[in-house]
Structures are given as structure tokens and as C-alpha cells.
């Protein structure tokens, strides 16, 4: 056990810190949902790409830095500490890209990987459907083979980034007769194809970050299928195990959130032992998350595939984040009832509700508990 950085890790940290200090935009970028913000984010991503920092965890031959999990986390700790913008092409860098690297063919990697890194093409994920949430394998969007193409009909939902994305990596049912996990195909769909319709979802937190995507007889070349036809469930599982790379929900992120809450504590309550105990508890939970994560990173760095810690981590951070938000709302007092103005301190109301969504997305917390019960505790499936 050694919690110090190796000389290589330390010099990488130094390099990243220096580079970020020189390049991170000093002004906050506009939301990527606006044309102006989208251009600003693209330009930031291009700067990263040109410096070879777009996807440090990707192998070198595919344009990454070939860094291990611990070095990647060093990168993101620095990234957050520098106050750098949210990543624009998260789903490409974290899911679609690594999946292509592992399951795609040479032509597919050639076609897409580099444009992911440069952000010339932005990606979104088409997995969930109105009838297939936690029970993802019951999805019904159809893909019918017609010569050298698939004809896709159906509907996806909760597709973040789809308003400005160029590509969708999607699961479609290509064999309705097969058992439900077997008849699924993983396919890349051009979002600009005729028949693709994106409709933003107005959310309960007064904003709109997700959308529905409708497919009406959309033609997709068969060469866009990743892996074999009807082997998409396996490919999707590869994608989902990659989900935590380029994850910005690091301990450093929550440490900053707790710092914001501490700033909100009014002077007359700063000596209240109940408030202190709550803050101390959140510190403890954030540190627990830091070291839970470090256990996983250590295992990954030694070539082992930890099966369960991503479920534990997701459960832990999402529920912890809500409790931290709740203390923030308490400190806001009566203002917690108000909509955040654009320049609100913290924007806690907005973030609180968005944090609630985190209990549902990426595998609801109940599904995570089932996974932990079955794979960690060895308990049987059941209702």
C-alpha cells in the first residue's frame, strides 16, 4: 500500500496542471444547448484534442494517451480543480469509443474514432425506451434487414445531448422471435438521417436536458452494426462496463460541492454542532467514495476487472449527493422555494432535482441494489 504518486504520475500531474492553467477558458462557457455555447465547447474540445488530451484513457494507436485508470483519475482531478468546462462528447469518449475499440472493426474505428476525439461528431446514446427502462432488454425499437441496410422504426427516450448530437449508438431488436437478450443489435445511427426526429422533454426542474428520439423507417447501412447482428446485448454490456471512464463524478467534484454548502452556512449557525456533524459526515462520505474508488482503480490498474464496485459507487455518490444538496437547500432557507436565477449562488434548486434524476438514470438505484445482492452477496434473484 502506497498512497504517494510515482515519479511518472507526479510529472504527468505536473504537466496536466501546467497545461490546464495555460488553456482553461477564464470565462464560464455558455450552455452547449445554445448555438453559441456549442461552438465554445467544441472549440475547447478541439484545444484538448490538439494537445493530445481528448481521451487520455484511450490506447495510443487510437489517439489517446494510453493511460491507466489511476493516471486517468489524476487527469480528471486536475481537470476539475482547474474549473475546466464539462466535457461535450462524454458519451463518445466514455462509451461509444471504448466499445468500438473493443468490439468494432477496423473500418468502423477508422470512420468514427478520430472525429469523436476532435468533437467534429458528437454522440448520444439510444438505449432506454418508454417501455424499457430498468428492464432494458425488453426494448422494442425494430431493425429489419433489407439488403445491405437495416430499416429502423421505434422510439428512444432520455437521450441526453441528442439536440446537438450527430450520431446515436443504439440498441434495436432485429430478431423478435429470439429470447429477449438474444435478438438485439448494437448499431450506429446517423442522427441527421431522414426519419429521425428529436423532441426535447420538458423536465420537472424547469429545464430540458433530455429528449425523445423517434425513428420512422430510418435506413442504416449494415456496416454500422457493431459486433454481429443479434449480438448487441453483449456489446452493450461492454459499453456499460466502460461507463465509468471519463467520469466526472469524482470525489473532487463532491468536495467542491460540499465547499459550496459550507459557504452557504450563515454566520449564526457556524457553531451549531448539528450542522458541524452533518458537514463532518459528508466529508466522511466523500472520503469513503474517494477510497472506494481508489480500491477499484487499483484493481483495474493490475489488470483485474472489478465486477461490483461501479454499482456500489453509483449508489453511494448519487444518494450522498442528494443529502449534500438537501443541506444546501436548508441553508438557503426561504430561497429554496425560488427558481434559481441564472446567476444564483450555487443553483441548488436546479441541481437538487437533477441529482434526484441520478437515482434513476444509468441503472436505477434499486437495480444497482439487485446487482449487489446477486453478484456481491450471492443472493438469488427474486422479487
Amino acid at each position: 500500500m502506497d498512497l504517494t504518486l510515482t515519479p511518472d504520475q507526479a510529472s504527468f500531474q505536473d504537466e496536466v496542471r501546467t497545461w490546464l492553467r495555460a488553456h482553461v477558458p477564464t470565462e464560464r462557457l455558455a450552455s452547449p444547448g445554445t448555438p453559441e455555447g456549442l461552438e465554445q465547447h467544441r472549440s475547447w474540445e478541439r484545444t484538448m484534442f490538439e494537445a493530445g488530451l481528448a481521451a487520455v484513457h484511450w490506447p495510443r494507436e487510437h489517439g489517446g494517451r494510453g493511460l491507466g485508470p489511476i493516471e486517468t483519475s489524476i487527469f480528471y482531478d486536475e481537470y476539475l480543480a482547474a474549473g475546466a468546462p464539462d466535457r461535450l462528447n462524454r458519451l463518445a469518449l466514455g462509451l461509444a469509443g471504448p466499445t468500438l475499440i473493443e468490439c468494432g472493426d477496423e473500418a468502423q474505428r477508422e470512420r468514427w474514432l478520430s472525429n469523436m476525439l476532435s468533437c467534429d461528431e458528437i454522440w448520444c446514446q439510444g438505449f432506454s425506451e418508454p417501455g424499457a427502462g430498468s428492464d432494458l432488454a425488453s426494448l422494442r425499437t425494430r431493425g429489419v434487414v433489407d439488403g445491405d441496410r437495416l430499416r429502423v422504426d421505434g422510439q428512444k427516450i432520455w437521450t441526453s445531448h441528442s439536440q446537438f448530437a450527430d450520431w446515436i449508438f443504439a440498441l434495436v431488436r432485429t430478431d423478435p422471435e429470439a429470447p429477449k437478450h438474444r435478438g438485439i443489435t448494437f448499431v450506429m445511427i446517423d442522427r441527421h438521417s431522414p426519419g429521425v426526429d428529436v423532441r426535447p422533454i420538458r423536465q420537472m426542474n424547469h429545464s430540458s436536458s433530455f429528449a425523445e428520439v423517434y425513428f420512422d423507417d430510418v435506413e442504416v447501412p449494415l456496416e454500422n452494426v457493431v459486433g454481429e447482428l443479434n449480438d448487441g446485448w453483449r456489446v452493450a454490456m461492454v459499453a456499460l462496463t466502460n461507463e465509468r471512464s471519463s467520469n466526472l463524478n469524482t470525489a473532487a467534484h463532491f468536495e467542491r460541492l460540499l465547499g459550496e454548502v459550507i459557504d452557504l452556512v450563515p454566520p449564526e449557525r457556524r457553531r451549531d454542532p448539528r450542522i458541524a456533524a452533518e458537514i463532518g459526515r459528508f466529508h466522511e462520505e466523500i472520503e469513503a467514495y474517494r477510497y472506494l474508488t481508489l480500491r477499484t482503480l487499483t484493481e483495474l490498474s493490475k489488470g483485474r476487472r472489478p465486477g461490483i464496485q461501479s454499482s456500489m459507487g453509483k449508489l453511494w455518490w448519487s444518494e450522498m449527493q442528494t443529502r449534500i444538496h438537501e443541506l444546501g437547500l436548508e441553508m438557503l432557507g426561504d430561497d429554496a422555494e425560488l427558481l434559481d436565477p441564472a446567476d444564483a449562488p450555487g443553483g441548488f434548486v436546479h441541481r437538487y432535482w437533477l441529482g434526484r434524476a441520478a437515482h434513476i438514470y444509468a441503472g436505477s438505484n434499486e437495480i444497482q441494489r439487485n446487482i449487489i445482492a446477486e453478484r456481491w452477496l450471492g443472493l438469488p434473484k427474486g422479487r
Partner: protein
Amino acid sequence: MDFEFDEDQVAFGAAVRRFLDAKLPPSRLRTIWDEGQGYRHEVWRELAGLGVAGSLVDEAHGGSGGRLTDLVLVLGELGTHAVPEPAVETAVVAPLVLSGFGAPALQQEWLPQIAAGDTIVAVAARPEGARVPDGATADVTLVRSGHEVHLVRPQRVTARPLAGADPSRRLAECDYRLDDSTLVTVDPAASLLIDTAGAAGTAALLVGLCDRLVDLTREHLLTRQQFGRPLAEFQVLKHRLVDVAVAVEAARSLTWNAGYRVGVGDPGAAMAARAAKAAASEAASRAGAAALQLHGGIGFTWEHDLHLWLQRAMSWERSFGIARELRAQMGAELLEAK
């Protein structure tokens, strides 16, 4: 960065586990409960042969010169088996405080005996009216008095044995007659080290005890049938145990970190130890509550072993800082820093 134990540390833990599985089954623990204040620390002397007592004592004094990280997994095993001696006081706090702050003569006198397993050390938080495990039966006691730390022999102790819920703790209420001859140090760092090393070590014991509670409960869910199927198929019961297991993994992660930071003398050791102890206390309290509930009526009997672990958890949750106080201390530091 490498957040794992090395082969030797894992093997040390496994050796202690095998030993305790064989030598300290619940049936022996029950006889130790029955002996109460009359128990004479036989388990500890046997354990010392494996190097547990001398792990943190330097080689010149008959130990193996390790760091707390070397002992974290071992402490977990001692916790799993609810070892009846004050293990953290004797094998962690005393060696660290005496080697860090004791005069050479004091080290020469005590460290070899500690390493050999011949000396049981108690720790008292104050000189009067202190509640001390092994208060009447320890061979020597480290006593805090403000910033002073004293080392007190039994002749200077007035101990009133108490009836503890867990009789294998041999609780006593103690008064100590301190003077210059008992003084070890006036350095406040020594008191802080008692808190920090005590909290980190006790967190490791609690994590091991949690493992016992989770294993027992898991076993019960898998074997107990109701409504024609094992309890383990009921999601509401599974999820309750999952929440406990996740809390235990969180506490385990913090405990490894605290052990490491205490071991290398990191400036963050005090905060790390508080976080670990608070998390381990909470995990143990949740694990205990879930274990009792999920066992149903059988867990409420004296006959079932569950209560042995529950009552020990209750004690360790209270040693070296309760969760709420530790959290308030951490929070106050963070509030002040802003």
C-alpha cells in the same frame, strides 16, 4: 498509488483468521463471558506467538517493527472473532505512544513484554472516574490527564469492577494516582496519537465485526424458508442487507486509508482516523440492527450467537469516539478552515 495490501499482510491476516477460527469459536467466547472479571487473557498470549502483539514494536525491543497497515487485516480478524482482550490498546496505542514519546528506560521495560504478549495495556481517558475495559485486570494503564500521558501500574489504581453488557470486556470504573513517577510525556501530540491510533485501530476491529454480522445474516437469509422459499428471495430483505454491505465497504475503505496514514505519520492521519471510526461505528450499528431484524425471533435468544457480536459492537462503537462527536469535530475543522 497502490491501495492494496501486500502478500505478507494478507498472509498475516489469514494466519490469524485460521488460528481464531480454531481457538476462539463462539463457544469459547461464551466461557470467557462466564469467567467475567476472572478471565486471565489466555487468548492474547496465544495470539502473541503469531506476532500480533509485537507487530508495531520495533525490532530492538523484540517486535517486528511494522506499521499500522501491517496490522489492519489482523485487527479485522480480531474484530470478526470479538477477541476479548483490549487489542488496540495493547498492540497499537501502547507501542506507538511508548516508542514515540517514552524515555528509553520505559521502552526497555515495557515494549519487550508487550511484544511477548505478557502485558495487557488498558487506556483511560481521564485520571478519575474513568470507564476502562480491563480496568481492574490490565498489567499497566496509559492514562490521559489533560495533555499529559501517564503509565500507571496496578498498585496505583483503584478499580471498581462493573457489570458490563459484554462481560468479556471486564469493565471497571477507575481512579489513578498520578505523579512525576508515572508521567510519560506532556507533549499534546501523544494524546492526539492515542485518539488517532485508537480510532483507526478500533475502526478496523469494527469492520471485521461487521463482516461477521453480514456473513451470519446472509447465511440466515439463504437457509431460512418462509412462504415456501428462502428469505433471500425477498427483495425488501435483500436490499436491507445490501445497504449494510455497502456501508461496510465504505468503512473498510476509510479504515485502510486511516491505517496507512497513521502508519506513515501523515498530517492527515487524525482526520482520516475520525472518518474511519465514524463510518465503522455507523456501519456496525446498521449491520447490527439489520442482523437482528433479519434473523427474526431466533436472533433475540441467548442461545443464538448473534448477541455476542451485537453487544461487542455496541462497546466498540463507543470506544475512541462516537460517530456524532467525531463528525462534529471534522465539521468544525472544515467550517473553521473556510
